[in-house]
Amino acid sequence: MAESAPLSPEAVADRVRREVDRALKRNIKGLEFLTSTRAEVGAMARDLVHREGTAMLWRYRPVVDEIYRRPLLIVSPPSNKGYIFDLAPGQSMVEYLLNRGFDVFNLDWAPPRRDEAHIAIADYVDRFIPDSIARIAEITGEREITLAGYCMGGTLATIHAALHAGNAVKNLVLFATPIDFDTMRLFQTWADQRHFDVDMVVDRLGVIPPELMLGAFDLARPANRTAGRLHLWTNMWNDEFVRSYRMFDRWAAETLPVPGEYFRDQIKKLMWANALVKNELEIGGRTVDLARITVPILNIIAQHDHIVSEAAAHPIMTLTGSTDREQLVSKGGHVSLVAGPAALRRLWPLIDGWLGKRSV
């Protein structure tokens, strides 16, 4: 067992001074925290270039004079806001990519209205993504793009790439993207076919409120919220920590409702039938065959992802027809993959290296 070395009186006094100072700062900043308005997010200037109800296509303004030929379209997961890619200066994947010469678009989502409850997976992959690609072609003159997606946004990007193989998508970049839903044990239990009446939920609610899905996430890590607040209090003296906590907290609190039919598809076709990984997923009367994807694929996985494990994301590396496939396993969790400071130092330069060569 480790023993502590005796401290000199000066060192003790120093420590006491530092802790008193931090305690004072904690109290002052704690009060500021409780009375503050919501955290500001977004580092880079952007323009709304297409809108179709819940679907909003944003273009981030390029910041360099010479950019890569192929634009990059990032699809947000339908249940989350896209500003996770652009939290704040110095903590923004979009800022990094713009500075590296990429032309970045983001297909983001507004909360669906009740008259959009009928929107299903088919609408995302056969309407919203193709319409966005067409609009990007109008703006840039480029008919070839890199399609990227985060979490379920990646699953939608994958389904689109398989159904529209040979068209505009020339590279596929996936962040924490579930493909094999059988391996998502907690969500399987939560939505157990024998007990979870998805038809009743969808028919009764129409649009599925975020609380329903947040319950499942809380079950996965029930201690995280409380522990997060305890860590916040300990680090209340640290402005950087507090700023980062507030931005992530705002993002988590702004989880979006999703259209009922999309939710029904997600539960029945992906969770229960696990149809995507079996090449049995039917969308608009067509079967999604992953082998039809032959473009280069970059599959990015978080080592400690409690939502999308490596087992859930890895099958894209074996089931597609692509011969140019690379997988990166990054330290950190589901969210820090696209927004954490470690990603800025280690992961994003790797993405830049991989994508730059394939964007000319």
Binding site: R15, G53, I67, T189, W190, H306
Partner: protein, 118 residues
Amino acid sequence: MTDKPFDPVAAWTDMVQKWEHEINSWSGKLTENEQFGAIIGQATKVQLVAQRAFGEQMDTLLRNLNLPSKAQVDQIGERLDAIEDSIDRLRLAIEALAGKAAPPAAAVKEPRRTRKPG
């Protein structure tokens, strides 16, 4: 034996992390149980039925107080969302028309798409 002095804040942080890990692991084991899925499924059903019953009661109360119900407030919110959607589409259509009408020099200069990795 180590030269590292005792740090109460580090010890506290360590304790919180261990507690967080233990609770999460315990939850992981609990949720693997099939009965857990049955309870959650039932709880969701009960919650929806209770919400509906409570909502109906509340609507009656608000109507008696001559106040708007949640459904009416939701309707107003949806109409505002629809108006925002329409304004966005109109703005985009106007910008597209203005772009076509304006001479090329007036258009926003696009960066060159000739970048090479390096």
